[in-house]
Subunit: 763 residues, 2 copies
């Protein structure tokens, strides 16, 4: 893996810190210092004027626009309308004039710059001393916070102190004149005004989605204040004299209401915001609320690593960011590839959600996991429409979406990758297996299983002699091969989908016959369909060679020209920017795990020899152009006892953004990779396996660590895992019902602390 880190932040277990302004990394810092609370997010950009490259992004989960770019396509089934999460209101914007001089950070002298993001409070702080004319030194402190528990609330706290008396004018605005992709302006202002001490602006997108932004200011001294309006912004101007060494503090309480229902009138929204703003806790209370929120969070979710501070910081940063991005607050929300931290990947949800993010919630907050599944249930109609657009039956879940509609305009992905649909099935199965929530199956899950099986049966086909079934003209998770037949991953997941759908139909028939009959009727399931799914399952073609124990990635893969990926010059990366498009596809190099992904997901289906053979073969061909790739390789390497390889992949995964390995953190954090980093600890070092009951646990520890710990929840019991060099302990506050397999021994864990001796395994 030719990935080299670029580290400039301080190492600290509970925060990230930039000491001294790192100009060249201005946008990287904006991403890294992002705040979010699932409802909305804000990049860690400057409040005041500056002239650096900047993406001043504020995003609201599920708030989107359609692209004005006209997509010409003369072919059917190709998406011609794409939507994306749109940059919204800059609610921390602050213009500063001191003694008639406009403060532009890039144009003034300054010292003592510091920017901090605290994982225990969710507070982002930035401070510096401006060195102005006539030896005037002004100390600025900008703090901001998003309340986790009541996510419509945001805070900005500005303190200013100077060594001499000076005159200051501040303009604090709520500004919807933001550009999307630095190019398009979508917002239209519908209402604005001042109600007693609250100023507000209500803006609307062409999708008719609206956001009401409201603020009021608290200031610790008397100032001259006036309200102002512009086309797409409103604000308050403050003018005052600041005595020397006296500090003025301005607190902006920001309330945001997003409204997707076009039938709600403006006045109702404004009233709702006014009430909410009245109730909004003070900044001090907000800090307390967040502290308490994060205390609970860390108590349950923390991963402690002793022996490597970089890893400790890295994994905590991941845990902090993933909680910010999503915690199951709203079943209409989902997780974008970049979370709420940037515009790359358009805020879209990919198969990443079910494949990489879902296990975190399932093993910690199953209700949040359920909400992610409900998101798919709520967009079942769009998935049905998409299947129809593709001349298929049933429901085809989109490659990329915010609202359920397919939003990927590259046909080679949107038409050829069935993996989002099979990922939904995988997640339903995973959820049911661990939670036994059969009511979910009856209310939502079975319908999705039926519709996805329908889609897969219509998308797949039999070979001419009808001896086997498979998927033709697909792209597997390895996006460096397209229009392939019998992709092992796709066929395997297809087989498992049919198998599970049939099994669950049978289960309901036996155990919930009334619900079963209603479901069969409602979804018009024909006996013949069930027979077809049975046949497809049985005849599913898997390119497995018993001799070598190897799966061929797809029909003809072994025939492809071989590339020694270690010989590709570093300057050729990323390949999409340096290689011609078709060149990427005509060799045996793979982008990310495909056969190995299958072996991770259905880990219990494959013995270690099989895994080893396939790992050795495919790992050496994998170029990891997806940031999700290294964690999966790490987990499997660790399973195989390949400690060095597993460790190297882990190092990358856990600090992917902090050390900007991929050089594109400025576009936003690799949010879904952050979940993969969590899996890298829990499934990788922890050796957890949940793809089959009983679940398994088999912790190991890397050579450089003395100890690490993580927790997970199973059958409502939190299991605290502490791993030391010679032994590990499991602590529970209640008994488990079912056995789990620890170090290959079946054990029914009871309340209390259990000690296990470490097993040594050498590669």
């Amino acid at each position: 893996m030719p990935k080299i880190k670029n580290q400039y932040l301080e190492i600290n277990p509970w925060k990230i810190e930039e000491i001294g302004y790192k100009k060249s990394e201005s946008q990287v810092s904006e991403s890294l210092f992002s705040l979010a609370n699932e409802y909305m997010g804000i990049r860690g950009y400057f409040e005041e004027d500056h002239s650096e490259d900047s993406l001043q992004g504020v995003y609201f989960n599920g708030i989107y626009a359609y692209s004005p770019k006209q997509i010409d396509t003369s072919y059917l089934g190709i998406t011609d309308k794409v939507h994306f999460m749109v940059n919204a209101v800059n609610w921390v914007k602050t213009n500063i004039i001191i003694n008639n001089q406009n403060i532009n950070f890039s144009k003034i002298q300054h010292k003592n710059f510091k920017r901090t993001l605290d994982f225990k409070t969710g507070e982002m702080k930035r401070s510096y001393t401006a060195l102005l004319d006539q030896n005037l030194e002004v100390e600025f402190q900008f703090n901001r916070l998003l309340l986790m528990e009541y996510p419509q609330y945001g805070y900005q706290n500005i303190s200013i102190k100077s060594n001499k008396k000076c005159n200051i004018k501040l303009s604090l605005s709520l500004d919807f004149s933001t550009l999307h992709w630095q190019k398009y302006r979508f917002w239209e202002s519908k209402d604005k005004g001042l109600i007693t001490d609250k100023s507000y602006i209500l803006s609307e997108l062409p999708t008719k989605q609206r956001i009401l932004a409201m603020m009021n200011l608290n200031i610790n001294q008397t100032v001259k204040s006036s309200y102002f309006e512009q086309d797409l912004s409103i604000g308050q101007s403050l003018t005052f004299d600041l005595d020397s060494n006296k500090e003025i503090t301005i607190t902006r309480k920001f309330t945001a209401i997003k409204e997707k229902n076009i039938n709600v009138n403006s006045q109702t929204i404004i009233k709702k915001a006014t009430i909410a703003n009245d109730k909004q806790p003070s900044y001090e209370e907000a800090i307390k609320l967040n502290k308490s929120y994060y205390k609970n969070y860390w108590d349950q979710f923390d991963i402690v690593i002793s022996g490597n501070e970089e890893h400790q910081q890295g994994i905590r940063y991941c845990l902090f960011q993933l909680q910010q991005t999503y915690h199951g607050y709203d079943e209409k929300n989902n997780i974008g590839a970049k979370g709420l931290t940037g515009e790359a990947y358009s805020g879209h949800t990919f198969w990443d959600t079910e494949t990489f993010c879902f296990p975190f919630y399932l093993l910690n907050t199953p209700d949040a996991a359920k909400n992610l599944l409900l998101f798919r249930y709520h967009t079942l109609d769009e998935a049905k429409l998409r299947a129809k657009e593709l001349d298929c039956k049933g429901a085809c879940y989109p490659i990329a979406t915010l609202n359920g509609e397919e939003s990927c305009d590259l046909w080679q992905h949107a038409s050829l990758q069935p993996q989002p649909s099979t990922a939904v099935v995988y997640a339903i199965k995973h959820y049911l297996s661990l939670t036994k929530d059969y009511q979910f199956l009856i209310d939502f899950g079975m319908e999705m299983l039926i519709e996805i099986s329908r889609y897969l049966f219509s998308r797949g086909d039999f070979n001419p002699s009808r001896t086997h079934f498979g998927f033709f003209g697909v792209m597997g998770p390895d996006e460096f091969q397209m229009m392939v037949h019998h992709n092992t991953y796709t066929n395997y997941l297809g087989k498992e989908t049919f198998k599970y759908t049939l099994k669950m139909l049978e289960y309901l028939k036996t155990n919930y016959s009334k619900s079963y009959n209603e479901l069969i009727k409602k979804n018009n399931v024909k006996e013949q369909e069930i027979l077809y799914w049975q046949e497809a399952k049985e005849k599913m073609h898997l390119l497995y060679d018993k001799e070598t124990k190897r799966y061929e990635q797809h029909l003809g893969y072994y025939e492809l020209p071989h590339i020694d990926i270690s010989k590709i010059p570093e300057t050729d990366f990323p390949l999409y920017h340096n290689w011609t498009y078709d060149r990427i596809y005509r060799n045996d190099m793979i982008k990310q795990p495909d056969v190995l992904m299958m072996m991770f997901l259905f880990n219990s289906h494959f013995d270690e020899n099989t895994l080893k053979e396939n790992y050795d073969f495919y790992e050496s061909r994998c170029i990891h152009e997806s940031s999700l790739s290294p964690s999966i390789h790490s987990i499997l390497a660790l399973q195989l006892g390949l400690k060095n390889e597993g460790y190297q992949f882990f190092e990358f995964a856990t600090r992917l953004d902090l050390d900007n390995y991929n050089r594109n953190t400025k576009e936003g954090l690799h949010l879904t990779s952050i979940y993969a980093a969590w899996m890298n600890i829990v499934y990788g070092y922890g050796g957890l396996r949940t793809d089959q009951l009983p679940i398994k646990l088999n912790p190991t520890i890397p050579d450089t660590w003395n100890h690490y710990s993580f927790n997970f929840t199973y059958q409502t019991a939190i299991i605290k895992v502490n791993v030391y060099r010679e032994y590990f302990t499991l602590s529970l506050e209640k008994d488990l019902e079912d056995a789990i397999i620890i170090q290959e021994q079946k054990v029914v864990l009871k309340k209390g602390k259990h000690i296990f001796k470490a097993q040594k395994k050498e590669a």
Copy 2:
């Protein structure tokens, strides 16, 4: 083949005729009645106002604009700039006002409508009687002509006669305000004016290409005349009284100069046009010149069919249109898929030129064939640039072009189809084989062979064990399969390219060592390269099964789901408009011959059993969505003695446009299919084979014909072939040097007439 004819024109051996206006086919008629002379073309549209759907197209060979559509692509090697032949000056536009009533054909009553296109003169005539208010009946006759010999000249001849005296105002303009794709306006007027009796307008495209349009009028009575100008047009208004039963005739002589050199100033162009217009023959002389031109043409090129008038008309129409489109006037010209008759396919030249059009010229006017090869030589630099864009070496000829640049923005075609390059090699080989013009090889051909071999070697690859070479990630001629490996056609043509390049290098080394050394030096050919080409040739992977004698179309083709194409409902055609894009690709249906195309091109390489096996297998899977497909199938069916199948395919091919089988003739004529119809007679019924020396001839005759004849030129001798039911004759006016194989017997034909008894062969 679910193709149904739609016939509305009269059957006549020497012309097409529309008697009574067929409103529903207005645009089909515009295409069918097109005139062209290689230099320019004009659709058979109305001169005067009307309100029907219409494409008033006038096109100049090689005059193009770049599309203003922004093509977004984040990938390398994908064309982001496309050009197309642009609609130019409407030089027959004529407004007519009679007794203050504007004559709009669609809004008046009329009778006796007739439109004719005469294959012996190239004259298009249209006449009708307008029935106006107060029983005024006005007879109109509109004739037009493009001079074949001096192709910058066009003519319009209008005659008007009425049953009562009336006042007439005519405005005859030269109008550049034409829209392209009914949407874009590209022309900018640079100069206009009146020089004595000549009015002119000089217009320019964003490509800086210019056209000077000039006209003068000849009228057989005195009229009031005035010159007028508008932004993009100029013209003459004529006002006169027409006495009852007296005929007025206006002849417009049109001179067009196209100028691609930006350094030529306007005055030079205007002067050139003025001189040319002065020399322009009268309309009567022009008719004579064209008559004489076409007499010579038909004397040499005619195909006579006795026994089926539809076929006779069909094939003559083809011969007429192909000569209009291209006859080798300028080596910068080429043949668009729609010739100069419409905007579909953007006027682009495809592999069709070398594969389908080239043999006609090679066997009739080898100099024209040479000019087509020179077109490729002149665009070698663009082909080299394209190879570079694709991370390849050498020269990659474009899928679609007017100026040598790749103009296809569908990467799946432009990046995956090496067939234009191999087609150039095939044509060079074909040309040299029949003409033995080794000077051409030295001056132009060898360089193209070297550069194309370079490209192919860099585009292909060895399998991992280096036991064989082939092309990965390609699309063969069958465009319903993409990203395939070891496509038989591509590999075979690749092998033949290397073989021929090596053979010609060897030939020059032995016979023209000085030229050889210069070429090696100029093109920097390394010994290692030659060794590589040798290796690639020897190791080229061909998916041939000796047992069945069948070639697999590409790796894995046999595994594809089978579609019974006879069961696809007629309403599903064309499939691109009714099937989702990816659905077309995931089955064994093929669009047009692929393995069979190879067997046509290298016919002598395959014995009849092999051909039969492959024909039976692939013909039943071919849906003929390309209009080029049926002729090739017909030729091979006839070779196999499958008279019925051969005949059915031929019927379609020879009247494809006249009977509008594909329902898209309104977009323009299927020009390159017209060449395939010629091949269908000469290679199909005539049994000519020229892919190897000695050439072969083996005529047969369909049951419905009594006799047919065709001619071709070989070794500068014209060979006249007359085929009767029981025998056929070959007549030559000079001896042939080399033997040809007639009915499988080697014969050296001498001057005179030779009679051969027909062989009966039953399928």
